[in-house]
């Protein structure tokens, strides 16, 4: 074999390798949209409306291929290449079930809810915030998220839960919130001190049977669905669908719900008005405070 022939073989060989490599990359980023009889809204027509923005699924599809496919997968079912390394698992869009909603349990979220989720990310998971994307791009992604499940054809988003103005933060409110925490048995999962270590905590699974942890208030981290007291109010009133966290909207009155919010803030190691009020109260009445948990329940009986 001459030197020239060898060089030609080498060049041709490397070109072939590059082609194979490129094809496999393309194959990985191919999106398998639901087939036409799945009852889903087509990617050509699906839109989202967030304030003055209109998102288009066709645009969202390209963004999804670039930013989302690695985790949420080419089938939108949360089984992307990275998913096996991730816990909690990426959302399965084909089920049309979402945790962070402003709408009642069992209903679809609003476009704003999905937009806020993409913007904010989920601090307790691998989902980052997507503020680097423009609002228009995030709106396009919202539209694309809604092409995976037939629920978006058949159902309308629920009516957002009304969050009434916050009641004043007082020690009475905190104490009543503490009773509510005991009565609703939040401690069964979140633990008597809110450490996420209640008696049922270790048995919890999400809808797909994957183990899932209740929020640990002592971590002081942001909540999954926001940071404000209004977000906290919404989290337990709407529930986090697809997870063990139920909705309390039918069993808690708005005033009681605000009391619970004020108490939950005292469980976090944060410098809040609630925490300082509670510390003062505890310093003065420490001995009279009944512990939360099964013992307190037995005492009440």
């Amino acid at each position: 074999m001459t030197l020239k022939k060898l060089a030609v073989t080498f060049v041709l060989g490397s070109m072939a390798l590059v082609t194979v490599g490129a094809t496999s990359v393309l194959a990985q980023s191919h999106i398998n949209l639901p087939d036409s009889n799945a009852g889903t809204v087509s990617v050509e027509t699906q839109q989202s409306h967030i304030g003055a923005l209109t998102g288009h699924a066709t645009e969202g599809k390209n963004l999804y291929r670039r930013y989302c496919i690695g985790c949420h997968g080419p089938d939108g079912n949360g089984e992307g290449m990275n998913a096996q390394w991730i816990d909690p698992k990426p959302r399965d869009f084909t089920e049309g079930i979402f945790k962070c909603r402003s709408t009642p349990t069992g209903t679809l979220p609003t476009d704003e809810d999905l937009f806020n989720a993409i913007t904010r990310g989920f601090v307790t998971t691998n989902m980052p915030q997507w503020r680097p994307l423009t609002p228009q791009q995030r709106a396009d992604l919202v539209a694309f998220v809604k092409v995976w499940s037939p629920r978006w054809t058949k159902e309308k988003p629920g009516t957002p839960l009304n969050v009434p103005p916050e009641t004043p933060v007082t020690i009475e409110s905190i104490l009543h919130g503490r009773q509510t925490f005991q009565r609703l048995e939040c401690w069964k999962c979140h633990g008597p001190q809110g450490h996420g270590d209640g008696p049922s905590a270790s048995t919890l699974t999400d809808d797909k049977g994957n183990p899932i942890r209740p929020y640990d208030f002592s971590s002081g981290s942001r909540f999954m669905c926001g940071v404000t007291n209004q977000d906290l109010y919404r989290i337990f009133m709407t529930g986090l669908d697809g997870s063990p966290m139920p909705s309390f909207a039918d069993v808690v009155k708005p005033d009681e719900a605000w009391d619970l919010v004020h108490f939950l803030r005292t469980l976090q190691p944060l410098k809040t008005q609630e925490a300082s009020l509670w510390q003062t109260y505890k310093a003065a009445h420490g001995a009279d405070i009944k512990p939360i948990g099964p013992d307190a329940a037995a005492g009440a009986q």
Partner: protein
Amino acid sequence: MRTKYFLALTMAVLLSSGLLVFANPPAGSGSVTGKVTYTGTPPKMKPIDMSKEPSCAKQHAAPITTQDVTTGPGNTLQWVVVYISAGDQGSSAAAQAARYDQKGCQYIPHILPMQVAQQLQIYNDDQTSHNIHPLSKANPEWNKSQPPGSPPIDTKYDKPEFIPVKCNIHPWMHGYFVVLNTSHYSVTGEDGSFDIKGLAPGKYTVTAWQERYESQSQEVTISGSEAKTVNFTFKVLPY
């Protein structure tokens, strides 16, 4: 005068036909009865440890067990839903709400059949909070807390589906909502027997559904007010 008479007659005909359609589906007096049995070794039902929930534990003198393969004497299978899956000639709307109780940290009944759009009422009879979490797919999935003393949850399902129900607080609690398109169904009792009544003459498909094993179907033809016997046998495995 004539027009008036004609109108009245039309109204009468319309009304009676309406009544016929909505209040009286082709009522029959045929029936399908039978037994559901198993062959093979059924799995052992596991005892449930409720010590973490003393208010429930004290309601059970003997520890209760899981119920997903409940057997009776003579190799019979309990909690099998037998229903008309094809050939139904009209179902009557359910007169009563289906009632589901949470009592002693157990679902009662373990399997609750109901019709599409039938009212469903869920009660908490316990001194502890439950969260009712039916894992529906075809119907919207919800998850609600129900502390002691709460009013019943009033709901319904619009699509036929077999829906597993769980309580995340008490992970041993497990049951099923069986939402059917027909009013002709029956759940097997301890002796494995079922009884589907009120069938008009015709050809039917009878299906038996068990929560762990594949459903089985048989064809049956009823003439007049015949009482047909159909038996089902499930092959069970010890694991």
